[in-house]
Amino acid sequence: MADNSDHKRRVLLSEAIIRQKAQPTRVVSPDAVDRGYWQGSTPSVPRHMRMPYADDRIPIVPTAEREPESDDPQTPGWVNTNCPPWVCPPFWSVSVDLKYLICLPFYEQTQLIGCYVVPQDHVLVVRNISYEALNAAQGDVFRFEFYIDSSFVMAIEDKVVDATAPNPAHKYALAGHTRMLQTHLVVDRNRTLCVRGILNGVVNFEGVSVHAPGDPIITGDCTFDIHMQGFLANLRENIDGGPRPTDLGDGDGEFLELTQEYGGYHE
């Protein structure tokens, strides 16, 4: 199979070389000189209309940007490098700063802090997490559990190391609002992200708390909150809402026919 295609390529190449040798030497036209002179800049001289290819079947998209009237720059080709939406926020992504705050009045009692349902046309990417446990006393250990569609994803355990710090961002050992805990939490569309919290109090090495479940918190404050920073990356075509293969690139318009079959780019 490979030998056959290689043979065809050689035949095509040799025929092209023979044909080129048979042709008289080319004379550079003034148009070509002019085009080369103005290449890459906005022409102020009469424009050269773009010559269509013999096999030019790029569909005309009424809502998209029109093609240029002048020649393309003489670049031989390029590569679409797509940074996927869960790595780089796309242009139309929405920055989110989810904040959930509850009153957690008892030790050793898990409580739902908050849930977020990712919209149908976006994927949620959480990059940074910080929290406060203002009802915890010095030395108290607390824990946050993250669930996606009721499935456990991860847990973070932290401790009040400096209850006297005036800034709540400096009270905890591993994260604060000024030094957020970095993570990579991707929540797909239509999924629900829930966070649960528990205040254990002082624990030993095995994690056994000195408190019994339901012991009241005596600090007087009743604040337990979590902040999640990230972005909602859009998954649908911004023009008409059609689905878009965000990870495939636009293929210089060549995927438009395919996209039309799947409901995008309706005229």
Partner: protein
């Protein structure tokens, strides 16, 4: 036969419509299929203790966060103590697959571990230290802690990274683009 220009134009056109997804590997940047790896712990370590398992990363075992076929990469960690590290006597070491990682047994020095000097007079919260530790799907990474002092000391540690699907088991090339999927399957003999 098409003319020479048509051939060249066709080649240029083919070059133009090719879309090559340029993606850094999963152990450099997390992908959509990556699971977060955030494990933190703050516990008191008994006085004069031996080495104790403190944080454990087991990518595909029971109790792990990610399903079978995932590996893990550790990109940052915190390993410090609540009290002044100069007197707390807390020591850490990384064990990977039952072996001590070379040059990964370390004590704590105050200015480095708690990162006090970074434009902030408050020592907390602690900064991450950067690292790069690969944990295969059948390996076990353990951050062990030891207290050499005569008093109980609180160890504070965290591991940060992500779980990513193994290239060999999931056929990632087939998911990412249509160019090399079948070729990769043939190479693997599957």
């Amino acid at each position: 036969m098409p003319s020479e220009n048509t051939i060249i134009e066709g080649a240029l056109r083919a070059a133009r419509i090719v879309s090559i997804p340029v993606r850094r590997p999963d152990w450099v940047d997390p992908s959509f299929w990556a699971y977060p790896l955030n494990q933190t712990k703050t516990r008191p370590v008994p006085a004069a203790s031996s080495w104790l398992d403190y944080l454990t990363v087991r990518p595909s075992r029971a109790g792990g966060l990610a399903p079978e076929g995932y590996s893990a990469v550790i990109k940052g960690f915190v390993a410090t103590s609540e009290a002044d590290p100069a007197v707390s006597g807390i020591r850490y070491r990384f064990m990977l697959g039952g072996r001590l990682l070379p040059a990964q047994e370390f004590g704590i020095t105050d200015a480095i571990e708690r990162h006090v000097q970074r434009n902030d007079t408050y020592p907390w919260p602690a900064f991450h230290r950067r690292t790069f530790i690969q944990v295969s799907n059948n390996q076990l990474l353990t951050l062990q802690v030891r207290n050499t002092s005569g008093a109980e000391a609180v160890a504070i540690a965290g591991l940060y990274g992500w779980f990513y699907p193994n290239l060999g088991t999931l056929g990632k090339g087939g998911q990412e683009d249509g160019n090399d999927g079948f070729q990769g399957l043939e190479d693997d003999g599957r």
